[in-house]
């Protein structure tokens, strides 16, 4: 109970708060006052206040489901509040739909880009408000304007490039240009860094600072604490639909923010003992794998994993990690090379046999591979082991045992809501991941391929999952961890491999390297070259 | 409560049919009303009788073959006369008729031996012979087609009559017109009828005779789609009006007359059961008057057909009606 109240007390001491009596909001680009939004069965926003000063970068943070996106959807007119008021530049403004928002000079960059892949940058930017010359589309006018915007804000993109040829970071820039083109003074960015590499994130931050220096106001939705510390001026923290803190970034730190988000103390970096490394249990030799279009994606990878250690594979998404894991777990054909598990060549055996031999797999895409979302949890908990003697008696499923063991896993892994009858689709992302991890570890594997275990999860769930992975390591399981999150690789791995264009650029240990070194390897530099340069 | 409602409704139905002197129920086959052929023709006969006599006309349409027994039973329970059409109903009627000795049945195209059933058969081969002869005389490609529904005896009679008509033309005029034949497999599938006709057209025929009930409407549509120079030949009723100029003629079978005669015999008390065969002589079968196409046919061909008609009526020409008889068929020497 104290833990529940604590953050509030803590926050109110230092709140940057406008006394409500005065109502002079003229310094504020956006004020949302006492916003209430109800959904059937849920109070998504419970008397939420948001104060964003003109010309600042304001972070809106909170765990998944805290109500951040709901709040911003009301600012952008996608949904309407049940009660509460919105002031733009000190004037009360009714925003009923996105057109009202655009009129009020509010722009939104969504997490999933709203771009037409086959059209060029110019065409996408002007879509819906094409400049014309008589009856004709004046594409050159549009192009000039976009060039001007790019230059002014440091948003470099080639106006004639086709969207699908651009990297994700550039696509995001197109989204931002699109919003600016429509005259936005207030920009809302919904988790903009979720899809970016560290370098691209740095680029984005540079852009945000430029925008700020040119007088734009930015609301930045995220749940990554280091980003808040790096780029924002002030922070509004939400939890369970309520505001739990309003602070200046300069007056707080990650630990404090985490506590406000989760409502208790959080370990930002998981504690672990030194690995007690055992014998080699798994290795791949000169592995070659093709991706779906038939192009080679893994080009001669060698790696090995011993009992009781975590080997991390870092890299920017799309450099062959997905194919590597799929080949290891039997979901993708190996073109050349060997996969060796427990001294047996398993290169061409079925996923089923691999599982029987003691291999586990936490897949990268939990909705595609990890769960049958229309199955209830008790069915999802046995996927892969449904025909083991524990759950299956010849041809009939042992329902009582399945339900008993599912109940136990739900309790042990704190899956919420704690019901084994709920469908996989009705769980939050974090709980879906818990189900998968609970299942895979309950099969008592000797080796586990873990891909992107915390993608899109909030810090509470990340902490839990990291602890689980470490505890499995300590029980002697060999773990291959593939992740795009450098933080995660650093905090979990005992050894780190960096993958670039289907090849391993080098192997390092976390205490004998730096983010910069790994970043360079992720960009295609070989470790031996880097070390040679240093020397 | 339900019991009472059910009893009440039963009563309503019975009372509703008691006022008129004679109540007639017509049970269609799966082709149903609107087939422009067999069922429509029978229904026309029932309505004709209803106009002339103190008779109430009712219809029950059958959705599938399994409905025949229940529909015949239901009809027999509430009526004096049941009209059943179609060879495919023969087995069902044979089971139902003996259960209702007080109800009279008029059955078209098949034979059920029961004292309360009057069966009507037709010499379909005679009408088909004439249209076959006409088709052979009119074809420009030297090939004519035949599309059947299901190869049951009445349809087979159409087929052998048609083929022997073509053969007769070949022998008497020294030509070699070929017949392409095929079966759709059902009487209620115009789409299949159309596709079979189209394939016969593409194999080089230009005139196709359909003896396929509702499925035959597909043949007429195909002829219309194929355009000038292509003809369908209708069946059972005068179907020439369905696509004027594209239906060369129709091989008629006056089911309406049979049904009317049957009802009349009940009204006049002359109903006696057994089997009656209607032929060209009785005007029970024949060719349509060719309202839209007569001017296309050469005078000599029309004359020859008239001569053949007379030969059939006077018995000097016997048209084969089975496979065996067709194989043994010798074209008689006829002087025009």
């Amino acid at each position: 109970m104290v833990g529940e109240i604590f953050p509030y007390l803590f926050v109110f001491e230092r709140m940057v708060f406008v006394e409500k009596g005065k109502k002079d909001y003229s310094d504020y680009a956006v004020v949302m006052e006492q916003i209430v939004k109800k959904f059937p069965g849920v109070l998504a926003n419970d008397h939420v206040d948001l104060f964003v000063k003109r010309g600042e970068i304001h972070a809106l943070v909170g765990e998944n489901g805290a109500g951040k996106t709901t709040l911003m959807s009301q600012l952008y007119g996608l949904i309407n509040p049940n009660s509460g008021k919105i002031y733009i530049n000190g004037v009360e403004t009714k925003i009923k739909n996105p057109n009202d928002a655009i009129t009020a000079k509010i722009g939104m960059v969504h997490q999933h880009f709203m771009l037409v892949d086959r059209l060029s940058v110019v065409e996408n930017v002007v879509l819906g408000m094409e400049p014309s010359r008589g009856p004709f589309f004046a594409i050159d006018k549009a192009r000039d304007q976009i060039k001007k915007l790019s230059k002014r804000f440091g948003l470099y993109v080639e106006p004639n490039a086709i969207i699908e040829d651009l990297p994700v970071g550039s696509q995001q820039r197109v989204e931002i240009i699109k919003v600016l083109y429509r005259g936005a003074e207030i920009l809302v960015l919904d988790e903009p860094t979720a899809v970016l590499t560290p370098q691209e994130t740095e680029e984005l931050f540079k852009i945000l600072r430029t925008l700020k220096s040119q007088g734009k106001t930015i609301i930045f939705i995220t749940h990554k604490l280091h980003e808040i510390m790096a780029v924002t001026d002030s922070v509004t923290v939400m939890r369970l639909g309520k505001v739990t803190g309003i602070v200046k970034t300069s007056e707080t730190n990650s630990r404090e923010l985490a506590r406000m988000m989760v409502g208790r103390d959080v370990l930002l970096r998981v504690e672990k003992d030194k690995a007690k490394v055992g014998t080699e249990i798994f290795k791949v030799e000169d592995l070659h794998v093709k991706e779906n279009r038939g192009i080679e994606a893994v080009k001669g990878v060698n790696l090995s994993v011993r009992r009781g250690e975590i080997v991390g594979v870092a890299g920017v998404a799309g450099n062959g990690q997905t194919e590597l894991v799929e080949a290891i777990t039997g979901l993708r054909k190996v073109e050349e090379g060997h996969v060796i598990f427990k001294k047996t060549n398993i290169t061409n055996i079925s996923p089923k046999r691999r599982r029987e031999m003691g291999m586990g797999h936490i897949p990268e895409d939990r909705l595609k591979h990890g769960l049958v979302t229309s199955f209830p949890l008790y069915y999802n908990f046995i996927l892969g082991r449904h025909d083991s003697p524990q759950f299956c008696d010849g041809s009939f499923l042992k329902m009582p045992e399945i339900k008993r063991s599912s109940e136990e896993l739900v309790k042990r892994f704190d899956v919420r809501p704690p019901s084994i009858d709920i469908l996989g689709a009705n769980l939050s992302g974090g709980n879906q991941q818990k189900v998968i991890i609970a299942r895979e570890f309950s099969f008592n594997p000797d080796f586990m391929a873990v891909a992107q275990p915390t993608r899109g999860l909030d810090i509470g769930a990340i902490e839990f999952i990291h602890k689980t992975i470490i505890s499995m390591r300590d029980k002697g399981v060999g773990i291959l961890l593939v992740s795009m999150e450098l933080e995660e690789i650093f905090s979990l791995s005992d050894r780190i491999l960096v993958m670039y264009e289907g090849q391993i650029m080098g192997e390092v240990t976390p205490d004998a390297t730096s983010t910069e070194e790994i970043g360079l390897m992720m960009a295609g530099h070989r470790l031996e070259d880097l070390r040679a340069q240093e020397a | 409560m339900k019991k009472y409602i059910v009893a009440f409704l039963g009563l309503v139905l019975v009372l509703g049919t008691m006022g008129a002197a004679i109540s007639v129920f017509f049970v269609t086959d799966t082709g149903g009303l609107g087939d422009k052929s067999f069922n429509d023709s029978a229904w026309a006969g029932v309505e004709m009788a209803a106009k002339k006599y103190n008779v109430t006309a009712n219809v029950i349409q059958s959705y599938e073959q399994a409905d025949y027994i229940p529909n015949l039973t239901a009809a027999a329970q509430v009526s004096d006369v049941v009209v059943a059409v179609g060879f495919m109903m023969q087995d069902a009627l044979a089971k139902v008729a003996p259960q209702f000795p007080n109800t009279k049945f008029i059955f078209i195209d098949g034979v059920v031996k029961s004292p309360n059933v009057e069966n009507f058969l037709f010499t379909e081969q005679e009408g088909a012979f004439l249209v076959g002869y006409l088709a052979a005389g009119m074809t420009k490609t030297g090939k004519v087609g035949f599309v059947g529904g299901i190869p049951i005896p009445p349809v087979l009679r159409y087929q052998y009559g048609y083929e022997s008509g073509v053969e007769t033309y070949n022998v008497l005029n020294g030509t070699n017109v070929q017949v392409l034949s095929g079966y759709v497999g059902s009487f209620d599938d115009p789409a299949s009828g159309k596709s079979m006709t189209n394939s016969q057209f593409s194999e080089g025929s230009d005139i196709v005779f359909a003896a396929a009930g509702l499925s035959g409407l597909g043949t007429i549509e195909a002829a219309k789609d194929a355009g000038k120079g292509h003809f369908a030949i209708g069946v059972d009723q005068d179907q020439d009006y369905l696509a004027p100029g594209y239906v060369l003629t129709s091989a008629m079978k006056r089911v309406n007359i049979a049904v009317f005669d049957g009802i009349k015999s009940v009204v006049e008390g002359t109903f006696k059961g057994g089997t009656i065969t209607l032929s060209l002589k009785d005007n029970g079968v024949g060719m349509s008057p060719m309202t839209y196409t007569k001017q296309l046919v050469p005078k000599t061909l029309l004359h020859q057909i008239d001569v053949l008609k007379k030969a059939i009526i006077d018995g000097s020409l016997v048209v084969p009606n089975t496979k065996e008889k067709f194989q043994a068929f010798q074209v008689p020497q006829i002087q025009f």
């Binding site: 990890g370 049958v372 979302t373 199955f375 892969g384 | 349409q61 959705y63 027994i69 509430v78 049951i152």
Partner: protein, 352 residues
């Protein structure tokens, strides 16, 4: 147990079809009023014709028997993510083989010939469907296309067989009758209609399919493949094996439907024995929401409407009304979101 059943069925699965039926009857009543017919008399006749007499009930059950089975066939396919439009063809092949074997059973006692004939009919349907399953697995050919094409092949094979090599004397496209020992016993006879024991086979099939889907490893694997083939593969479940197996089980059920018609109704293969029952199976699976028990109810619903419609015709209302009713039911069930939004709208009104 009761509360569990209640919980299980008091959801969209049952509410949507029930609302669909009620709404469609209402709309059809309006149509009848517009054409000057009294809907109360018509529906009275419908109920009387479906349930009012012993004969009506027998007809109703006899009609429902194959519909339950084709509904199960299509529904089981749907559960495995397969759209089996070929139930008609599988039914025909099953019926044809069952007839052939049944006709040669005269020297066998009934306790051998009945199960043997049943088994042959099921295997026939299963193999016919497995062709489409195999084509999907080996060549990636979509089952909708292949099963439709196999329907035609089956029809033409059957037409050829009963017009030639296996034709009863008399120049009619029908096979000889099957042996007495291979016929289902009649349970009840009224007038010219009889109730065969086939309904018990159909109900047993409902129970068996329910158990397979809900209680067995096979059901689990088939459902997983149907709902998410990627996750199934990840879980070590063979997509190929289960696709072919699911098609075969679906086909076996359709084959059984045909076999029922042979062993309990016609005692022979008749020209158009299949009718549209394979396609009716799609309707029924849809209304029954692919749940075996729901399918049994849906089959009885359709058979009742059809049986009752004959009596309705006697009351002077065209059979087309029944086709309208059926069409609206299907429309509403397929557009179930529409029905659900109606329900939510009502709920919202209550809250406000």
């Amino acid at each position: 147990m009761v509360s569990r059943l209640k919980k299980f069925y008091m959801n969209d699965k049952i509410i949507v079809p029930v609302i669909a039926v009620v709404v469609s009857l209402f709309i059809a009543a309006i149509v009848m009023l517009l054409i000057g017919k009294n809907p109360f008399i018509a529906y009275g006749a419908l109920i009387y014709g479906a349930f009012g007499t012993e004969g009506a009930l027998i007809n109703n059950i006899m009609k429902a028997t194959p519909l339950i089975l084709t509904g199960l066939a299509v529904g089981f396919g749907f559960r495995a993510g397969l759209f089996n439009i070929g139930a008609n063809g599988q039914l025909i092949i099953g019926a044809l083989l069952a007839t052939y074997v049944g006709a040669h059973m005269s020297t066998f006692p009934f306790y051998l010939s009945i199960p043997l004939t049943l088994a042959v009919g099921m295997v026939g349907g299963a193999l016919w469907a497995a062709i489409a399953g195999w084509l999907k697995v080996a060549r990636g050919a979509h089952e909708v296309i292949t099963t439709i094409m196999l329907n035609y092949v089956a029809v033409f094979i059957a037409n050829f067989v009963v017009n030639g090599p296996f034709q009863a004397p008399g120049g009619v496209p029908k096979s000889p009758e099957i042996a007495y020992s291979a016929r289902f016993p009649d349970l009840l006879t009224t007038g010219a209609t009889w109730l065969s024991a086939g309904i018990f086979v159909a109900l047993a099939a409902v129970a068996v399919v329910y158990v397979i889907i809900e209680k067995t490893k096979t059901g689990y694997e088939v459902k997983a493949v149907g709902l998410n083939p990627y996750a199934a593969e990840y879980g070590g479940i063979s997509i190929s094996k289960n696709t072919i197996l699911a098609m075969a089980i679906s086909g076996a059920l359709a084959g059984l439907a045909g076999t029922m018609q042979v062993m309990g109704v016609y005692y022979r293969y008749l020209g158009s024995l299949g009718g549209g029952m394979g396609f009716d199976g799609i309707t029924i699976a849809l209304i029954g929401q692919n749940d075996p028990i729901g399918i049994a109810f849906a089959a009885f619903l359709i058979s009742s409407i059809r049986t009752g419609s004959n009596q309705m015709q006697i009351a002077g209302v065209s059979k087309n009304i029944v086709i309208i009713i059926q069409g609206i039911i299907i429309f509403l069930v397929a557009a179930n979101r529409l029905v659900k939004s109606l329900m939510f709208w009502k709920k919202g009104a209550e809250e406000a």
